[in-house]
Symmetry: C2
Subunit: 393 residues, 2 copies
């Protein structure tokens, strides 16, 4: 099978490495015909090409791998490739989260596959296992640590008792975090992955307007306070379904110190599902990185090479967003007394820890709490909050 | 597709439940034509049948599910079904561990499938993901918590600081442990699962003679000592490959308290692999139980229903058992002074804890240590040992 790789970055080169160097039978049947590079860049390999139309018009190319990142021109190229009846494999969570329904419909119309394992959880075979679980079970809940950068930061802030900025800088030096880390630390990257995962899990095109709160304002004192409660903070994605309703949120969650989520260290990811008969199932691995992410891309290519049945994706269910499904007790750190009034109706108690004030709320929906935290941050831009994870039986 | 279920026990009835009650499209295409029960038992359902030959001779039956357990007649029935060109799905780890090469060859000769996801890790899609990983990667190492009974016992001994016997009795009352718990607590059940998993991972029919040591002699004082070292004890299966050599062992391992393995509570299981490009990947879920195990059986049935390519199983590689591949520092508890002499050459130091003596060894191979512990137990039948897990980079 002839394929074209769009994008000469880390993941694209990982795909080249795996296909060219690995000796497994499946990889021998895949031939990389083109590697799309930016116009004007030097062509250092014979497969390099800077004209997308050359690739699209080559009818011998069966499959296009989109690993460029960003919204445009990825969106346009994916659609064009699908319309030219080429299968598409993508690792680009931003463009998939935004256009997954359009891509899926276009792939179905043209009777080709559109797969994107690498977009969620990197090397973890997460979407594959989610599809697999859905062959038998209804999925009631999914959750996970879907961002290695923020997990690295929280893990090292905890272990080294250092400030956010210090660890963020190191993550940037190590290549775990971007120069502009906003997409990671504000939870946008996780929001994209949750939109994709929840849409698949619940057969519905989930609107990406669910509450999202990142870790930009976390302070080493917060971590010390959580540790004193025998809790560990993790930036989590959570989505639940009940009957014809769903709820979702991206936010810091506090787990018991001996919970599995608390054990996820460094930049590893964890993806969890709960199904009718299988119960809890969790998948752990590298959520990013050249070879793990490329591995996920190549797995999709092999599925198409082997003509496996397309995973059944139906985004047609009309689930209602139930803003009360995701809820719990929050701990809010603010030293601004006016902020307490905002939480008046849900105020439970307050604890002082090393000069900082932590307000515990009564049980409140994530939706409502995220409205409150916006009001609080208007007055106290450095405030932080986390929800206490409760074990459901 | 018409199927027959051999065995009217927990898993057999779970398979019936899932196929009869679940509403997913795949399950609707599976019809249970027979349920084999023991001769003389009352036939309370029309599908019940007590004659295996009726099933084998019915050419409309495409697939046989073997969930009887035990070696015979399961071994004979599986072979007969394969020879009658029926696919076979089994959850019976004991018979598969013993005869997997024979079954595989027979299935290949008759051009039918032989699948056994449920035999290792219960509801966890472990073998499936192992096959999947092998499409791209060489697998260097597998490991895991493959027995829910012993994990329940160790977890509750730790949390409640109670003796082995007390928790074992409760596990028996809860239905987690058999009346004769030997297969679980002596590591035989895990040995079967490691033989199956390692054979698949390394493409070799691994001989089941690797060192195996269970938890029969663990004492609550041992757990207290390990806790004082910030360690958590887990009964683990481990297999490694290096070039054309493999090593394997089943034994108690000591993990750092914040390691992922330490977080596995109750009767849950964890299965881990390390591959060339994917790195570490771990899979968590219910390792036993009616519906999770039946879920794994039905997944295999659906793979066959959908005519997915057979997973590539080659047991043909002639790997050499390298008795030095699995090794480390052991802690041995014995109050018998003669026993110390047995360990003379590998003695590192001794620690006293609440009246008990713990000998730390130098680095020693599992193979050799397991020889020593047999000698030690001839003199001190209640001795216990555990290896300290070392993080390899």
């Amino acid at each position: 099978m002839k394929i074209a790789v769009l994008g000469n970055g880390t993941v694209g080169n990982g795909v080249l490495d795996i296909i060219e160097q690995q000796m497994k039978p499946a990889c021998k049947d895949i031939e990389i015909a083109y590697l799309l590079i930016r116009e004007g860049k030097p062509k250092t390999k014979p497969i390099m090409c800077d004209d997308i139309n050359t690739i699209l018009q080559d009818t011998s190319v069966d499959l296009v791998v989109e690993v460029m990142g960003g919204i445009e021109p990825a969106h346009t190229y994916i659609l064009k490739a699908l319309r030219m009846k080429k299968h598409v494999v993508s690792a680009n969570k931003a463009v998939i989260a935004k256009y997954m329904k359009e891509f899926q419909e276009c792939a179905d119309e043209n009777n080709v596959c559109f797969l994107y394992e690498a977009s969620c959880g990197g090397g973890i075979p997460w979407l594959h296992n989610l599809f697999q679980a859905k062959r038998i079970d209804d999925i009631h809940e999914i959750s996970g640590i879907f961002n290695g950068t923020t997990n690295y930061i929280l893990d090292h802030m905890t272990k080294e008792q250092k400030q956010f900025d210090v660890i963020l800088r190191r993550a940037q030096e190590l290549g775990y975090a971007e120069k502009d880390p906003s997409a990671d630390i504000d939870g946008i990257d996780i929001q994209n992955k949750l939109k994709i995962s929840a849409s698949i899990a619940f057969d519905s095109d989930i609107v990406q307007d669910f509450p999202t709160f990142g870790i930009r304002t976390i302070h080493k004192n917060d971590i010390a306070y959580f540790t004193s409660l025998h809790k560990c903070v993790k930036l989590m994605a959570v989505a639940k379904k009940q009957d014809d309703r769903y709820g979702a949120a991206v936010e810091p969650l506090l787990y018991d110190a001996d919970a599995m989520e608390s054990s996820i260290s460094e930049n590893f990811n964890l993806a969890c599902l709960n199904g009718t008969t299988i119960g809890d199932c969790k998948f752990y691995g590298q959520g990013a990185g050249k070879l793990p992410t490329a591995n996920a891309v190549v797995q999709d290519i092999i599925d198409i090479l082997y003509q496996l049945p397309k995973p059944e994706i139906s985004l047609s269910k009309n689930l209602r967003h139930d803003t009360s499904l995701v809820k719990g007790v929050y701990i809010v750190r603010t030293n601004n007394k006016e902020c307490r009034q905002i939480l008046e109706d849900f105020y439970d108690r307050e604890e002082r820890f090393q000069g900082y004030s932590y307000i515990w709320t009564k049980c409140i929906s994530a939706y409502q709490m995220h409205q409150f935290i916006k009001q609080i941050m208007d007055k106290d831009a450095g405030a932080f909050m986390a929800r206490i994870h409760e074990v459901t039986k």
